[in-house]
């Protein structure tokens, strides 16, 4: 669990170094912009190449690790957050980025979202929310609006969609933001702040599925006649959960920006503090001797 430092000084990363396989996403998919934004922010922040760790579950957006030339892991459906928790806690030297969609994060992995948030695990999580299951070709997702027709809801969705922002506030995430994949500058800014935030940082990114749900986010896109309405951080009480809840009430298209931001001890810090205290009780002893001491107590 010891901290590990980079063997060589970080050189400036180029986009070419960060690019891997050409994304297999459909033409004009919102996820391309998310990938480009990620490259931009990682370059800007000068994160050492080998310390970047890209994690994903299953879904269209969860193909993300293949498109980044960095240590990555493509895991099983819904479990990207606990996997990333294991990485973050055991390797504090790494920058852990989790990418996934609404099905992965809010449905099959929904409970993990609550617990990663309440534990305030140090990592950045981008949910590329497209309001539909794309990889399996057009089924209702946990964020599909009421009435929208899909292959599993031929008469229109009848289950009330979840409210990701309210859920994140309720479960204790310490950085909660919302952005739109068609608003590149805003997305860059949100990603950058999420990465720099110590603790569990989530950016819900509306990312259009041009194949199955085209136009889903036009109402938040001025180029398509919508309104990109920003959170006014001057007036918003950033550390108030009730203010964040208030902001979360209307998400169609709702406000964009940081809903909530606070500092709280991370799971990483709290576990490490225990570790440090425990180390003091055995100071000067080899690990083998610690075990021998335990044996002696069992005689």
């Amino acid at each position: 669990m010891s901290d590990t430092t980079s063997a060589a000084p970080a050189e400036k990363l180029t986009k070419k170094q960060l690019k891997a396989d050409h994304p297999t996403w459909c033409p004009a998919c919102g996820d391309f912009a998310v990938l480009a934004s990620f490259f931009n922010v990682v370059q800007k922040l000068g994160i050492p190449h080998e310390k970047i760790c890209v994690v994903a579950g299953i879904g269209c957006s969860s193909r993300f690790p293949y498109f980044v030339n960095a240590h990555g892991i493509h895991f099983i459906h819904g479990r990207a957050l606990p996997l990333a928790t294991g990485i973050s806690l055991s390797r504090p030297d790494l920058h852990v980025f989790v990418f996934g969609g609404d099905g992965d994060g809010f449905s099959i992995g929904g409970n993990h979202l609550n617990h990663a948030a309440r534990k305030n695990v140090n990592l950045s999580y981008v949910v590329m929310d497209n309001f539909v299951y794309g990889l399996t070709k057009n089924q209702t997702s946990p964020t599909t609006p009421l009435g929208r027709k899909s292959k599993t809801d031929p008469r229109g969705a009848i289950d009330r969609p979840i409210n990701p922002m309210a859920q994140l506030v309720a479960s204790g995430a310490t950085f909660i933001a919302r952005t739109h994949a068609a608003q590149v500058k805003h997305m860059n800014a949100m990603f950058e702040r999420a990465i720099l935030h110590p603790g569990f940082a989530v950016v819900e990114t509306l990312s259009e599925c041009t194949m199955f749900f085209p136009g889903a986010f036009d109402d938040g896109n001025p180029r398509k006649g919508g309104v990109f309405d920003l959170v006014n951080e001057e007036e918003q009480e950033m550390e108030s959960t009730s203010a964040a809840m208030e902001l979360s009430q209307d998400l169609s298209p709702g406000k964009f920006g940081v809903y909530y931001e606070t500092k709280r001890d991370t799971k990483n810090d709290l576990e490490r503090a225990w570790l440090t205290d425990a180390q003091k009780t055995v100071a000067g002893m080899s690990e083998q001797d610690i075990l021998r001491q335990r044996f002696a107590s069992m005689r």
Partner: protein, 598 residues
């Protein structure tokens, strides 16, 4: 005091006046502290060079309910908790009525004469009524109700079996001294009162001194030894979710790992637990997760991922009884096939099993070695009996068995491939630089040697073979299978896990009666050793005792695998699914039946 009318008889060993073995069954309710009596006796045996093995039942209720604790003390080898009791200690009428049948003919029954009404029986059992409850209250004084009567009984047993009174006082002081002076004073008063209680119908039956060499003897349970083995094997990260009887491992590691610069995380569910562990493995540490039956099922998908992605991972499964919630506090060996095959697709992994408490330590270290060297998930299949019972044994020599935890962040060169076809996968964790600037993605999609997703038909076949063949290489490395008893003859027992003790003793007993019997104990249950077929050829019969059902086709889970591996029609099963371990006599009877049917 005594309401016995039976003649005073002292059951002693024929060769000497000292007892070499004593099986004591304590029957009461779970809140009476009968486990503590057993634990004290176990600890005493461990520190006086005696052997001990215990067996207990715990009701799966939140508090209370009938419970037993059986202690088998011995001067030499003790391989099983005892078929029948020499002495029963009954706290209540129901304990007395339900357990008197487990006492051997002519055995002894101590009962609480404040609680129990003696019943007529004709097996010559010596009944000795002692008012545990009122004598304890009198000794301690005041209003302690029934607390402390377990320690009173401990004193009584120490006197009857002439156990080391001074050492026992030290052990009690070690246990209660931490609480408060009052608690310790009351415990010692109860102990002394029990020790001094006049027992008239029998003479004292001194236990022979222990014959085990070595001064560093431990006494503890299987879950503790398994946890310590994981630490000695290099595990520094773990994650879990509470479920009986696995929970004590996670509790232990949660407190203990930080001393070794490691951590154990309690998760929201089993899926998260296995995922955290895989995350830590991916990070380059050796990580464990664990559970019991139902929890293992929940982890199955992720275990399949670890097989596919070739991640080192240790998964502990403390087996309990039945499917679903089943018998959560009883023993069974019915998770073998789940451990070997439980996932989707072809997902080969390694399964190994400890044979007793001591072996939990070495099995855990072996699991660590295999997981790292073969880059594979390794399942450790322990069971409720091993997990919870106490045994005494020699302290492990760490200088021989310690495995240093490593985190290999060395730079990977131009020849690095995450999934090479001609070599065993060696994972490059994040943080390791790549000289060529190309970084790997670990994946559950079928992939080529570079880790790129690939649906190519030939590639899938090659990669499937790669994941299978590395485990065959492991099987080739085991060395010749050891046989206990006769290395050819009329019958071979073959078993795995906690049936080790009863099988070994059944083998010895049959050989002492002129049979030619051998036995094989498998630590590596998957992949199986490759020399079993040749061994089976040397016996007329092969019998596989297992604590699982004989299923649709008449064979237990290991027997089914052995028949598939060797196509040997001699292989027969004897199965027990009562939630309790085999008795030696049951195995001898099953073996004799097979031999005589020839």
């Amino acid at each position: 005091m005594s309401q016995s009318t039976a003649p005073a008889q002292v059951p002693t060993d024929s060769s000497s006046s000292a007892l070499r073995n004593a099986v004591i069954r304590l029957a009461g309710d779970s809140q009476d502290g009968i486990q503590s009596i057993g634990a004290f006796l176990g600890q005493l045996a461990g520190s006086t060079a005696q052997e001990v093995m215990t067996y207990m039942t715990i009701p799966s209720t939140i508090s209370g309910g009938p419970s037993i604790f059986q202690v088998h003390l011995g001067s030499g080898d003790v391989l099983h908790p005892g078929d029948e009791a020499d002495t029963l200690v009954a706290f209540y009428q129901h304990s007395y009525e339900n357990h008197l049948k487990t006492v051997k003919d002519g055995g002894i029954c101590f009962y609480d004469s404040d609680q129990v009404e003696e019943v007529k029986e004709e097996r010559g059992i010596i009944h000795i009524g002692v008012p545990f409850t009122s004598a304890t209250i009198e000794a301690i004084g005041g209003t302690t109700k029934s607390r402390g009567k377990n320690i009173f009984v401990l004193g009584l047993l120490c006197a009857v079996y002439q156990l080391d009174r001074l050492r026992m006082s030290e052990i009690i002081a070690g246990k209660f001294g931490k609480k408060s002076e009052d608690v310790l004073r009351n415990a010692m008063l109860a102990f002394d009162a029990g020790y001094a209680w006049p027992v008239h119908d029998i003479e004292h039956m001194p236990m022979a001194p222990g014959e085990n060499e070595g001064d560093k003897r431990l006494s503890t349970d299987g879950n503790t030894m398994l946890s310590l083995g994981l630490i000695a094997g290099g595990v520094r990260f773990g994650a879990g979710y509470p479920i009986t009887p696995w929970t004590t491992i996670m509790e232990f590691l949660r407190s203990e790992l930080p001393k070794y610069n490691g951590m154990f995380i309690q998760c929201e569910d089993e899926l998260a637990a296995v995922s955290l562990a895989i995350g830590a493995s991916f990070s380059g540490h050796l990580a464990i997760t664990g559970s019991s039956g139902p929890g293992l099922s929940l982890k199955s998908e992720a275990i399949g991922y670890a097989c596919m992605a070739e991640m080192p991972l240790i998964v502990v499964n403390i087996q309990r009884g039945g499917p679903s919630t089943g018998l959560p506090t009883s023993v069974e060996q019915s998770d073998l096939l789940q451990a070997i095959y439980g996932s989707h697709g072809d997902a080969p992994r390694v399964v190994i099993a400890p044979k007793n408490v001591e072996d939990c330590f070495y099995t855990a270290i072996e699991a660590c070695r295999i997981a790292k060297e073969y880059s594979t998930p390794v399942l450790i299949l322990s069971d409720q009996a091993i997990a919870t019972r106490l045994e005494a044994f020699q302290e492990p020599d760490l200088s021989k068995h310690w495995r240093e935890p490593t985190l290999d962040l060395s730079e990977r060169g131009a020849d690095f491939k995450p999934y090479p076809l001609d070599k065993i996968t060696k994972h490059s964790p994040p943080g390791a630089r790549s000289s060529e600037g190309k970084y790997p993605v670990v994946t559950g999609l079928e992939h080529d040697e570079w880790g790129h997703p690939s649906g190519n038909p030939e590639n899938h076949e090659k990669m499937t073979a790669k994941r299978r063949n590395k485990l065959l290489k492991l099987a080739e490395s085991y060395g010749p299978t050891k046989i206990h008893g006769e290395d050819s003859g009329s019958l071979l027992f073959i078993g795995w896990g906690s049936t080790y003790g009863p099988i070994k003793e059944a083998t010895d007993r049959m050989n002492s009666e002129g049979r030619k019997v051998g036995s094989v104990h498998l630590r590596h249950v998957h992949p199986l050793p490759i020399d079993l077929d040749e061994i089976f050829d040397r016996y007329d019969h092969v019998l596989v005792p297992e604590m699982n059902d004989s299923g649709m086709y008449g064979y237990g889970q290991l027997a089914t695998l052995l028949r598939a591996q060797t196509c040997n029609a001699k292989i027969q099963s004897t199965n027990k699914v009562q939630g309790i371990s085999f008795r030696v006599l049951e195995l001898v009877t099953a073996a004799e039946k097979l031999i005589s049917n020839k």
